[in-house]
Amino acid sequence: MNILRLGIWTALIFLLNSCLKEEPYQPSADFTPSLIVHAYICNDSNTMAWVSESSSILSKITPANNVDLSIKTGTSPIQNFVSSTDGHYTLINNATKPGDSFIFFCNHPRASFAISGMRPHLPNIPSIDTQSRLNPFVGGTLNFDLKIKDSAAIKNYYRLYVEKTVVEYIYDYKDILIDSQIVVNRIPIFGKEIAFIQNDYNKYNSEEILFSDASFNGVLEDFSFYTSDILRKTLKDRPLEVSVKVENLSRALYEFYNNRNAHIWQQKSIIQVPSSVSGNIDHVIGVVGSFSSFQKTFGLP
């Protein structure tokens, strides 16, 4: 009887599992490549840009090397980006400071443009504290209390995220520890404060929240948030520290991040109408944005 039952249940499971069937499909492609530019103007060592060309959906993406990228800040002379590989460009000794205006130049056979912007001021964060917290499905994790003082004169857009630095253990095929490496990853953060619920786009990505100063313009605002990440030693890794990062973004970058988070979520969703990501460069896909960032690091026991 048990064998019969086993047979019936196994057949049922087999049938239910076979519901997912993938079949090849060849879409009709009528596509003209465009220039793609992503430039993030920020602190010296982080200012970078990626340039590529879009490709048909079934083709490989082509990076664009040796493109002329440069930036002019105030009265400083024009600075050129240095090309590395895979369409990756960096700016050495960036002269752009928080609050400076700049003009970004790009020269490529497909498109040439210049776009101006202003690097936002550093976010004013009087304090960040932590405390332990019990979380469903996880147990004890960290809660963060953050105070942010907004500038009344300027409309500010913020991005908040937390990074975890861990020692990751490397095992061989016999599960014997052979090495370790330091890895930095973002961890999910959640909250019910206004910063989390003000912006609908925050539902698309739990690894960063984006918010404006609309509800606390010019005042000191404090809110708390928590992570669901396990901050305990496991067989896989040992956490060393967590860093809370707050960035003050240019509006273009804020909108671009929102759109991109929505788009990435929609790519994975079967129930959503997908949409393209909009940027701030005419006739070119991508964004030229700027930000200034604050960081506080907490060591973990």
Partner: protein, 875 residues
Amino acid sequence: MRTVVYIVFLLISGLGNALKSQTINKKISLNLHEISFEKAIYAFEEKLNISINYATNLAPRKKVNLRYYKTNGSIALRDFLSQYGLRFNLLSSSVLVLNKLPKKEKQPNHKLSGKLYENLTGEGLIGARIFNYANKRTSFTNEQGFFILDLSKGSNIIEYFHPGLVPTFDTISGDRNYRINQAMYVATDSFKTIYLNSKLRLSGNDLAGNIAGSHRLNSDKIKWTPQLLGETDIMRSLSSMPGVIAGSEGMLGIYVRGGNLDENLVLLDGVPIFNAYHLYGIFSSLNSDIVKNADLLKGYFPAKYGGRLSSIVSIHSKEGNSYGLKGSASLGLLASKVSIEGPLIKDKTTFYLSARRSYLDFLTQQVSSLVSLNDSFKNNLYYFFDANAKLTHKFSKRLKLGLSFYNSLDKGGIKQNTSTESIKGNVKESREETSSWGNNLYSLNLSYLQGNNTYLKLKAFQTTYNFTFNQQYQIKKDFVGTSQVNEDKTQYRLKNGVQDREVSLHIEKYLKWSTFNLGAGIINHRFTPGDRYLLSSINQSQSRINFNDNPSSTFESYQYAEWTQNFQRKTLLNLGLRHSVHFTENKKLYSFPEPRLALKKKVGKSNWFNLSLTQNYQFFHLLNNYTIGLPSDLWVPSTETIKPVKSSQASIGMNRDLNNYSISIEGFVKEYENLLEYKETESYVTNNTNWENIVTSGKGNAHGIELMAEKKKGRLRGWVSYTWLVSKRIFADLNQGKSFPSRYDRRHNASLTSTYELSKNLSLSLAWNYASGFAFTLPVGKYSSPTPQDPYREIFIYNGRNKERARANHRLDLSIAHKKVKQRYTRTWVFGLFNAYNRHNPFFYQFLYDEDGEQKLNSVSLLPILPNLSYTIQF
């Protein structure tokens, strides 16, 4: 002496008349088609053994038909002649002479009214046809089984007809008003008995019959539609009708004439059900056992219906057997159900109870323990449940009270308990993450028959739909060597829902050539967009934070009047006006007239021309996602900025209704205003935070042609339907303001549903459906948008909303049923195959990398070939 002679003369004369009457009144049967008038008269002469004299100029030139079965010769002849404006006089026992009918024959005012009910259950019959052979008048029973019909002077032969029941004949004198309660009998051998002797056209397509763009399914038709996992389904049966476009593969969401999912008003005994589906839309939440019949209206909406734009699905449930305790129990692969019905007080009170539950949760637990599957499978929890209860009490022959209850519930998620023992002590953890959703409905119906021709109906109900998400974690630490027990708990709960409360009064008045429907009602819509709290109990310190979105309450009132006029039995005109008023939360008032017009005109002998014009408003909306309806989809009201959705529709069509077959063609044009869609880059919400900011309004239009042919009797029965549809949307904020196809703009849709009676106990059913592929958005290009976490993050480029088409959907479902009548009960085995040729219909598309690192587009299918088996007993 003179007196004696006179008496003898009278006696002889009387005897002679009696003999004459005997000859002409004998029962005859005639079945002749397309013959000349002269031949028809000759046939009567032969059958009645009489001579009929007439002037040749009285004879019509066109061909005539004679179809009489065991009918009184005098009535048959009078009936035949009256069609050509003629009558007869008896000159002697065997000689008749034909004359023209007087130009205006005064019509009698006497009426036959009453109720038709099924003999086995005592339940009133809805939509049964009553035909008077004497004056060719037809009437239909209403939702209570009530009808009213004109009588002619003299003898009236009345035929009562309802599909699946034995036609019944009666002779009523036209000398006064009559009121009857007529039983109709369940056929013992359906295909030999049901249609015997019936002269009636069966589709209800006569003068007062179905209006344009409507279809009726009775329980008989629903039962022989093939099953999915052992369940027949009312909504699946309706989706085979023309104009009804099926949603995603396997899903029951219906899209009628280019409309959206929330534009269908599903009514159970006149009460709306907000979510009529179980298992994310795969099954209807309405147990098919309770269904007496179901009407689908998609063209003309009678004025008593409103609040939705695309269709009315009106389901009438059973009231319970009046004569004895009856019941049924059914065991299927997915669910089991049981129902019981009977009288509580003889001839006064009946009840009907039914319940159904799935056992997927038991199965998964059994399977995991048998084959040692992992915990995540074992802890998966999913089941659905529904229950119906109905109590009907007759205070008198005129006054009836009905009380109904309906509940449906789906619950799914993960529940897990773990226990860990260590040197320090024991730790017990409990985790739960579940979603549950369902309907709850209470209703009261009081109906009263005033006089012989007026029905009053008072209706009050409350119907609720709720979705709940619950996330809970509990940990209990029991330390060794101490009495200390540490118990911590956190819980997050979200609840959203919608509730309608309505009180209304409806009046139906039947006059000689017309019917009046009047009514008014008031509805309170209550929306709970996000009732949320976070509870934590840590180190014996408790806190509860509520962060509710404000519930809203809006009011809607409506009044309607509808006039149905019958013009010389060849034209039927329905004129209706509904007036709806909606008060938003902030006291803004929307007030709209909703005119309705339907015209039905006889063209030739069996053809009917239909025309209808309808305007509707919908005051609340379902913020549903793109592809499938989710239980968490939020109902929201019209507000100051979000205007009610408006639709205007015109339909035109022709029906041809023959004895055994009917065919119809209908075309429609539909315009929408103030449709809602999510803005690009926005997604579904489960609470009302800023929902008005993430939606956008636009217009839409749809047009199409629908064809249907049905074979209604014989061992082989069924219907075939075809729909050609174009459905477009245009929104300023979407697709760069350009027009785009709606998701279910499926150009060609065809359906074949049929049953064949192999023997008295064995029947075979099949359903085949075809639909052009749904419209979807496909990227044409891509680029990488590096992030610090993912330097190769791919972003897609789109070239137009819903520009691509999925592969066509088609599927064959088969079932074979074997029924056996035992001494105390009847048992039925049903075996079936869903998707018999294992067609992989696309459910959605996704990009995947193959083994060589090449990106490919793949379609993903959900439902392969699925066998099903069910066992039912009825007692």
